[in-house]
């Protein structure tokens, strides 16, 4: 990223519309990546406890969130 782009990014992120949208998009990306990784881990035979440990959340949290995926 060039200096000019960084400056532009820093300036524009003071606009709540841009800054909040960035957070929302980041959250969306996070959700997609987590789902992919949890799916993959289950496919490779990981237990909910193992997944939870690496994600640094409780086993209940990860199980509750992904049990509807049927794995």
């Amino acid at each position: 990223m060039t200096d000019a782009t960084q400056v532009a990014a820093a300036a524009s992120s003071r606009d709540p519309a841009v800054g909040l949208a960035a957070v929302a998009s980041l959250r969306g990306l996070l959700e997609s990546l987590e789902e992919l990784q949890v799916t993959n881990a289950r496919a490779q035979g990981w237990s909910w406890q193992q997944i939870a440990d690496v994600l640094r959340v409780s086993r209940q949290a990860v199980h509750k969130k992904y049990r509807r995926f049927g794995f």
Binding site: M1, Q6, A9, S12, S13, A17, V18, G19, A21, A22, A24, S25, L26, G28, L29, E31, S32, L33, E34, E35, L36, N40, F69
Partner: protein, 187 residues
């Protein structure tokens, strides 16, 4: 209600859904109906708007400007402000999990409006008022011209504001519609 719509008016409704989806909107709003008018060839609403000096380019420019108020900023653009290159993330993920992996997740599907996008309050209002306009003009069908007139009632959203800002007035438009309808088939 839709059974009284002309073929072209139906195409406008279908087109509005396409407009909303392409613009990443989570609902069909009045401005999507307005933009959709210009995607249906040879319709009365566009003829009337042309006579009033409003063409496709004008509407595209105005609807495009609405984004910060209504339609969300696209993810790639929003993430770029944080220095995250979404295309690169997608490329890396697809390398590990296969083509389309990131966009195929349920999380992504939940965020992206698919199939049916609902009409928001302003678009519903336009359709209701289109029906009322048709009744008022004693027309037994709802055509693109009635959809246009529906937009011109006050408090019906961005389409109304765009048209009014361009000097399009309800009473004048109604007169032009009545004259044109006398001269040609509905559309």
């Amino acid at each position: 209600m839709f059974e009284r719509f002309t073929e072209k008016a139906r195409l406008v409704v279908v087109g509005a859904q396409k407009q909303a989806r392409e613009r990443g909107a989570d609902a069909i709003r009045s401005e999507h109906l307005l933009a959709a008018l210009f995607a249906v060839p040879d319709n009365l609403a566009v003829t009337v708007l042309g006579a009033l000096g409003v063409d496709r380019d004008v509407v595209e420019a105005e609807v495009g400007k609405l984004r910060p108020d209504g339609t969300p900023i696209p993810d790639a653009e929003a993430l770029a402000t944080l220095g995250i290159d979404l295309d690169e993330v997608r490329r890396q993920v697809e390398e590990a999990f296969g083509p389309g992996a990131l966009d195929r997740t349920r999380a992504a599907a939940g965020r992206r409006p698919r199939g049916h996008i609902p009409f928001d309050r302003t678009a519903k209002k336009v359709m209701e008022l289109a029906l009322r306009e048709a009744l008022h003009l004693k027309h037994n069908y709802i055509g693109t011209e009635h959809i246009l007139l529906g937009m011109l009632h006050s408090a019906t959203g961005a389409a109304h504001d765009i048209l009014v800002s361009r000097g399009v007035r309800q009473d004048a438009t109604r007169i032009i519609v009545e004259e044109l309808v006398r001269g040609r088939r509905a559309g």
